[in-house]
């Protein structure tokens, strides 16, 4: 067990280093930060001096060493655009993105799993077909269109929900949360749904497929033969056994959720990492972009680790070796 986790962590470090390198290789190319940092009237030589100060003229490898070196020292550098410490900027945006992503995930689970079970148990039902079809259409509309539509329906026409931002947030030990105020939740709803649609469909279809498989398995038929109550049969016995694959996929997808939050955040002006990242691209804010990518990689790695631990929690076969 310990061995297994350690192994996983070593791999994680490898992954993050690789991502850091890729991220860094991006730097050279997205554009010229200087022209973004300076005004129209700034003379060419002033620009050159700035470029020199920022070490943009140093050789690539040297810059990479410095980048990773500083990062390992915990020094994430300063934003070209706002001159703030990148660590602070990202840190202040993490809660927004994480809350959005997690809530989206929860929504997709709360709806997706039951829907999956239902559609699996009544494969030919009319409702099933409608559910399958609508979700399919749902995932076929680009996220950004869905987002804007939701904004105009619920924000403008009906005026029920805010159209942008996080609403009322609350500081809890440095974590700025919108989960404790009502209008925080109101603000969270639309973006979370927009982001959740894809996950929802995925989860539902996955649960459906797995359920249909499991319902054919011997131990389910044996449970039937013993007259185990239907509810327990479907949930305690069948659903539980579908969870391992479902968790895997969802874990793998979480990276996608974070990434797609870029779109959602830009549509809803949601002050998360994704929005920051987009702005940074526009301003060629190299340090911010780099750190963002690494942070994303970190989350991905983290989630994978959690998924592995969840397996162990769910499946006793992974917990203990045979004793008999």
């Amino acid at each position: 067990m310990v061995y297994f986790i350690l192994k996983r962590m070593v791999q994680s470090v490898f992954v993050m280093l690789a991502v850091a390198f890729l991220a860094f290789s991006l730097f050279r190319f997205v554009g010229d930060p200087i022209t973004q940092m300076t005004g129209v009237e700034t003379s060419v030589e002033d620009q050159e001096r700035l470029r020199e100060e920022l070490g943009l003229n140093d050789p690539f490898v040297y810059q990479f060493m410095r980048f990773t070196g500083d990062m390992l020292k915990g020094d994430f550098g300063f934003s070209y655009r706002t001159r703030q410490p990148v660590a602070e900027m990202i840190a202040s945006r993490i809660p927004a993105t994480l809350e959005l992503g997690v809530v989206a995930l929860i929504i997709s689970l709360l709806v997706g799993v039951p829907a999956g079970v239902y559609t699996a148990l009544k494969p030919r039902g009319v409702l099933t077909q409608t559910i399958l079809m609508t979700t399919l259409v749902g995932v076929s509309i680009p996220t950004f269109v869905i987002g804007i539509m939701l904004i105009f329906i619920f924000g403008v026409q009906l005026g029920w929900l805010p159209t942008f931002g996080r609403g009322g947030t609350v500081q809890i030990g440095g974590w700025e949360s919108s989960l404790f105020t009502i209008d925080g939740w109101r603000a969270l709803l639309l973006p979370a749904i927009t982001l959740g649609v894809y996950q929802l469909t995925l989860t539902m279809r996955l649960v459906r497929a797995e359920m249909m498989e499991v319902m054919r398995s011997d131990y389910i038929r044996f449970a039937m033969a013993r007259g185990v109550p239907t509810a327990s049969l479907h949930y305690r016995h069948a659903l539980a056994n579908t969870m391992v694959p479902v968790i895997t996929i969802i874990g793998l997808q979480f990276g996608g959720v974070i990434a797609f939050s870029i779109v959602t955040e830009s549509v809803f002006q949601w002050p998360g990492m994704g929005l920051l990242f987009l702005e940074s691209i526009r301003f060629v804010d190299i340090p911010v972009m780099g750190v963002y990518l690494v942070v994303i990689a970190f989350f991905f790695v983290l989630v994978n680790l959690v998924v592995d631990l969840l397996y162990v929690a769910i499946d006793p076969r992974l917990r203990i070796r045979d004793v008999s």
Binding site: V2, R226, G227, P316, D322
Partner: protein, 560 residues
């Protein structure tokens, strides 16, 4: 008591209804074990499923009567039927590995079942559960009950399954191939248990199996089915002892006896195409180095597998699959290799064919040393001289390749025949040599039955002009009658072409029919080797003795 009258079950398909079983009658009294025997496709399981009301959709009971005691099972509403299940009828499945929920402790599964059918309190239920486990022979149940299914061995797991089945003491238990997946030792224990339960608890058992030996040993009555219809039914001794129906007789003929060797099975409608128009293939094989008979000798062969690593610091102890095995297979002879699952039979085959790499020992094929696994280069002669017939004819043929391609592959691969038409013709001839229609060439594997596929597999092996043939459980996936055909085929070919054969099987009776010499393998060690008849009549090793005793067999008086 259970009464079945004129039962037929239909499955609606795209092309009209398909009748799975038709007009089946049978009665089972309390405490009676009623064997239901027949080959695959006979509809045995369908009868059981119909009785307990768990027919695979869209199957349905077309007509007939099903009554348990005084309840008409057919008129029950779904919810009532669900209540009857477990409460009065229960079931035991074939594979203990898959019939328990892997995520729940034995305790939870037992308590849940018990509480479903009685208003026992948690603690009462637990007590009942523990008692049950004790009763079916699980030591210190009180604490083992906390374990998960995967923590029990196969046999123990089947006991747990039985415990679950009887936990609500039902009147009838349908046991569908309850011992097929088990080794003889465990099998006999489970069978004893079933007999005991039938006697003590007066439970009626419907024992569905393809193994006539099992029926002969435990069943009070037997019903023989074929293609969904009942051929013959009655008291076991009656039906199997003096079979009236021709089919039953054929069946009995093709069951290999354990206590003697019969040179050839009397196979029902055996086609004798083998002689004619297989000549071309036969000549081709004989023009190979047929006069050279190639033996194989293994000296102190040891195979180790790396264990599951659990710590960074110490390497896990290796798992020893073959332990210092020494075995000498005479040129042109058939060496039988028997042993329970996990005894290392297949590992031995893999070692010889180079799929696994022994850690120690020497292998010699016809006097020249066989390089181990990876170090055996791809064009080493042994790769052609040694061929293999596998256990599962369904996975041993590439389902996406035409039979023609499968058969001609060795011909061009070993460079025997340059011309493509030639290869085709030879392959076709070989098909008829193994007793199949040559036109099979243009078909795909899924278009053939298991037996036919196994014949094709044999043909493929022969087309490599092997001198040494490994047959790894070649018939254990087949029905007895088919088994008989294949065994006959192998015997003929061996005689014709002077092949040396390593015949691996868990079935002692089969091995006795086939092998000149027999080796008994256990936990990777050779327990005993010897001339087959000697070994069977006077086994030396304790283990061999116990195997003999435990293998279910028919009273000698029944032999026809």
């Amino acid at each position: 008591m259970l009464t079945i009258k004129g039962l037929s079950v239909k499955f609606p398909t795209r092309f009209g209804d398909f009748t799975a079983i038709e007009d089946v009658d049978m009665t089972i009294n309390p405490g009676e074990i009623h064997g239901l025997v027949g080959e695959s496709g006979a509809g045995k399981s369908t009868v059981g499923a119909a009785v307990i009301g768990l027919l695979q959709t869209p199957g349905y009971v077309a007509n007939g009567a099903l009554t348990l005691g005084d309840t008409d099972l057919r008129t029950l509403s779904p919810s009532e039927a669900h209540k009857v299940r477990g409460d009065r009828i229960s079931m035991i499945f074939q594979d203990p590995q898959t019939s328990l929920n892997p995520l729940m402790t034995i305790e939870r599964q037992l308590i849940e079942t018990i509480q479903t059918h009685s208003d026992a309190s948690e603690s009462e239920a637990r007590k009942r559960a523990v008692d049950l486990l004790e009763e079916i022979g699980i030591k210190n149940a009180a604490e083992r009950i906390k374990a998960y299914p995967h923590q029990f061995s196969g046999g123990m797991r089947q006991r747990v399954v039985i415990a679950l089945a009887i936990s609500t003491d039902p009147e009838l238990i349908i046991a569908d191939e309850p011992t097929t997946a088990l080794d003889v030792a465990v099998q006999s224990q489970v069978l004893d248990l079933i007999q005991r339960l039938a006697k003590e608890r007066q439970i009626a058992f419907m024992l569905i199996t393809h193994d006539i030996g099992v029926i002969a040993q435990v069943a009070d009555c037997v019903t023989v089915m074929r293609k969904g219809r009942v051929m013959e039914t009655g008291v076991t001794a009656q039906v199997l002892g003096k079979p009236q129906h021709r089919y039953t007789q054929q069946l009995m003929d093709s069951v290999p006896p354990l206590d003697r060797k019969i040179d050839r099975f009397r196979v029902p409608d055996a086609d004798d195409t083998i002689a004619n128009n297989g000549d071309m293939a036969e000549d081709w094989l004989l023009e190979g180095a047929q006069h050279v008979r190639t033996g194989l000798s293994l000296r102190n062969l040891t195979v180790k597998f790396a264990g599951q690593r659990t710590s960074i610091f110490r390497k896990p102890p290796p798992y020893v699959a073959l332990d210092d095995v020494t075995l000498n297979i005479e040129p042109g002879s058939i060496m039988g290799l028997v042993g329970e699952s996990g005894s290392g039979k297949s590992t031995l085959a893999k070692a010889i064919t180079g799929l696994v790499t022994p850690s120690d020992g020497i292998m010699e094929l016809g006097g020249s040393v066989l390089p181990f696994g990876k170090s055996r280069d791809r064009d080493h002669p042994s790769r052609q001289l040694i061929q293999m017939v596998f256990q599962d004819p369904y996975s041993s043929l590439n389902s996406r390749h035409k039979i023609g391609d499968i058969l001609t592959e060795p011909l061009w691969f070993y460079g025997f025949v340059k011309d493509a038409q030639e290869r085709e013709k030879l392959a076709a001839a070989m098909l008829s040599l193994v007793g199949m229609q040559p036109d099979a060439i243009s078909k795909y594997p899924h278009q053939f039955s298991g037996g036919q596929r196994q014949r094709i597999a044999v043909a493929r092996a022969l087309l490599a002009r092997p001198r040494f043939l490994i047959c790894d459980e070649p018939t254990s996936a087949l029905d007895v009658s088919i088994q008989a055909e294949i065994l006959n085929l192998l015997k003929d070919l061996q005689a014709k072409f002077g092949l040396t054969i390593l015949f691996i099987s868990h079935n002692l009776a089969v091995v006795r029919q086939m092998a000149d010499n027999t080796a008994v393998l256990r936990n990777g060690k050779i327990e005993e080797v010897g001339e087959t008849n000697a070994l069977y009549t006077a086994p030396q090793a304790e283990y061999t003795k116990s195997l003999m005793d435990l293998t279910p067999m028919m009273p000698t008086t029944w032999q026809t």
